[in-house]
Amino acid sequence: MKSGSLAKIPDRTFGLLLTIPAFLFLIAVMIFPLIRVINMSFFDYRVFEGGKMIYVGLKNFREAFADARFLNAVLNTLQFTIVTVGFQFIIGLFIALILDKQFRGRSLIRMAVLLPWALPTVINSLLFRWMFDGQFGLFNDILIRIGIVSRPVNWLASPLGATFAIYFTQIWKVSSLVGLILLAGLQSIPQTIYESATVDGAGELRKFFKLTLPLLRPAIIVVLIFRSLVALQVFDVIYAMTKGGPADATESVVYNIYMQTFLFTEFGYGSAMSLLLSVLILLFGFMYIRGFYRQESTMGEGV
C-alpha cells in the first residue's frame, strides 16, 4: 500500500518527518514558555497599564538579591530540602530493609505503606493542619493525655512549631515512596554475594556498610536527586498548612514566586526569581551527579 513518492524518502528523513509533531508539541509546551520566561525576566511587565513591557536589564535579578523576603525564602527552602530529604532517606531505607525480609502479609504491607504517598498533598496537609491545631488538634490532645504538656501548644503560631509541622507532614508523606524505590534497588542485589560474605565471616553490620550501601548507590542517587529537585520546588504543603506564616517563617521560593507573580502581578520579577530557582536546582543536580561519578571512579581504581 506504499505510495510511490513516500517510498522514495530515505528512512532517516522519514523518521525525522515523523518526529515533527512531537517536536512542535515540545516547542509549544516547553521551549516557548522557557524563552518567554527568560525574555520576561528582563522586563518590567505592567499588567495594569495595558500590558506595557519596559526593558529594565538586570534590575529584576539585582532586586532579587537585595530582597530580604526572597533571600529568607531561599534559606527556608534549602533548609527544608536538606532536612526533609535527609529524614525521608533514613526512614525510607529503614522501611526498605524491613520490607525486604520475608514475613507473612508482606505484599499487603508493601501496598499499605504507599498510602500516604497516594493521597494528594493538599489533603494530607489539611489533615495535618487540623491535627496540629492549637485549639482542637489531635497531637495536643495526645500530649496532654500522656502528660507531656499541661496546656495546648499552638504549633502553627510559632516559627519553630510551624516549620516542624511542615517538615513532619512532608517526611510522613514521602518516606514510603523513598522506601519503595530503595526496596527495588535492594531486590536487584543478588543473594549469592551475601552468601559468600557470610562464608567469609562478615557480620550483619559489616555486610550492610560494605555490600548493601555501595550496591544500592544507583537507587540512592536516583532517590536523592528526584526528592531534592521536588523539595526545592515545595509549594503545596506550605500553601495548605501555613500560607508562609507565621509572618514569613515558612515561605518557600516557589510560594514567594507565586505571590509576586499571580497576586502582585509582577510577572517580570517572578520570571527572574523562577530562573534563579532553576539555576539553584541545576546546581543541586550537578553536585549529586558529580559526587556520584567521582565516588564511582575512585571505587573502580580501588578494586
Binding site: V47, F48, E49, G50, G51, W130, D133, G134, Q135, F136, N154, L156, A157, S158, T242, K243, G244, G245, P246, A247, D248, M259, F262, L263, F264, T265, F267
Partner: protein, 428 residues
Amino acid sequence: MNRGRGLTLFLFLFAVVGLAVFAGGQGEKEQQNVVIMVGSHGQYLIEETMEAFMAEHPTISVEAVAISSVPQESWQTYTTMFAAQDGSAHIVGMYPTDVVHMAEAGWLTDLSQLYDPSYEKELEKFNRTAVEINTVGGNLYAVPLYADALLLYYRKDLLEKYGFQPPTTWDELTKQVQTIKAGENDPNLAGYIFQAPKIEGVVCNFVNFQSGVGGEIMKDGKIVLDSPKNREALSFMVGLVQKGIAPESVTTHNPNDDSIQFGNGNAIFMNNWPFALNKYLDPESKVYGKVGITRMVGNDQPGASCLGGVSIGINNFSEDKDGAWEFVKYITNYEWNKQRAIRSSLLPARDAVYQDPELLEKNPAFKLLAEGAQYLKSRPTHQTKYYIKLADRMQYHFNKAMLGMQTPEEALTNAQAEMNKILEEEAE
C-alpha cells in the same frame, strides 16, 4: 523546489480554512451570547435566573462558568485571563479587592456608558458602601451581586444563663466573657474567636476594631495607618489574646476553622462570615437553637462590619456588552436578591430586601442576619490600585503583632513605612 511548492500550498489552504472559520464567526449577529464567570457562592440559583432571563430576552443566551470562590485563586484566574486580553467571559464576579485593579488596568467596561440616566435611581437602592467600592474616578465599574459581612455570633443560651443582653461595646463583651468563663470553668471554652493569621481576614478583623474608634487605613490617597486611633484598635485586638479573652489559636485559624470550633460549642463569641450560620441551623448541630447574631460591637461609636461580597462587571475585551449589561441588571434586581436570600442566606446587596416580609417569614435566619449585616465599613480597596500589595504588608505586620513578635506600635509604623515604599515605587 517541489517541497517548497508543497509547503506553500499547505500554508495557503491553512489560511483559507482559517479565514473561512473566522468569517463564519463574524457572520450574522442576531443572537447575543453572554458568559458569566463567578465563584461558587455567586452560582446560587444561577440556572433558574438564566432561564427566567432568557425567556424574557429571547435574543440573548447566557451561560455560567464557575471558578474558585477563594479570593486569591479567582484573582489569579483573572490576572492570567485579562493579561491575555481574553474576552470569552463577558461578565466577571469580583471581590472588593479586585475591582479597582481591574478597572484601572482597562479590563472593565465603564458601566455608566451602558446605562441610561434612569438607572442612577436604581443604584441608590443598593447598599451605599457596596456601590462606593465599585466606583473609580466617579465611574461605576461593577454592580454588587451579594454582600458579605463579618457578623458577631454569640451563644444565646450562655448569655441568658448569666443574665446578659447581647453586647454593644467591647467593654461589655470583655466583661461577659470573663464572667461566663469563670462560671463555666471549662478549659475548652474560648471567649471571643476571630481570624488573625497572615490572610486578608486579619485586615478585615482589624477594620472591625477600627470601626469602633473611628480610625482609617487610607485618606485622600495617603496611608494614615500609623495613628493614635489605629494604635488603640490594634493594641486592643492584640490585648484580647494576652488577657485571655481570645485564645492563641486566633493567630492561625481561618473562618472555616473558627466555624468548627464555635459549632462544637467551644466558644462564647465568634466573628465570622454568614456562611457559618447554615451549619448551626441544622438540628444535628451541637449549637442548634443556641446561636444569636448581632451587629459588630464598638467603643466610642457603634461598630461596623468589614464589607466583603461579590460584584459583577463587564469584560472590556468582550463583544455583546449590551446583552451582558441586560443580564447584570437582571441578576442584581430586587426579586433575585430576595430569592437568593430566601433560599441560600446570601446577604442581599439591596438594603430594602432585609425588611421584606416574605423573606423574614420564609427564611428565619434573616431575623438574625438583618440586625448584623447592614452596618458596613469598607477597606480602602477603592482608593488605590495597589491594594493587594498594600494589604500583604498589613497582613504580615498585624499577624506578627498578634504573635507577640513585635508591638502594635511597631507593626503600624513598619506597615506604614513599607506601604509608603510600595506606593513610591509604583509611582516611578
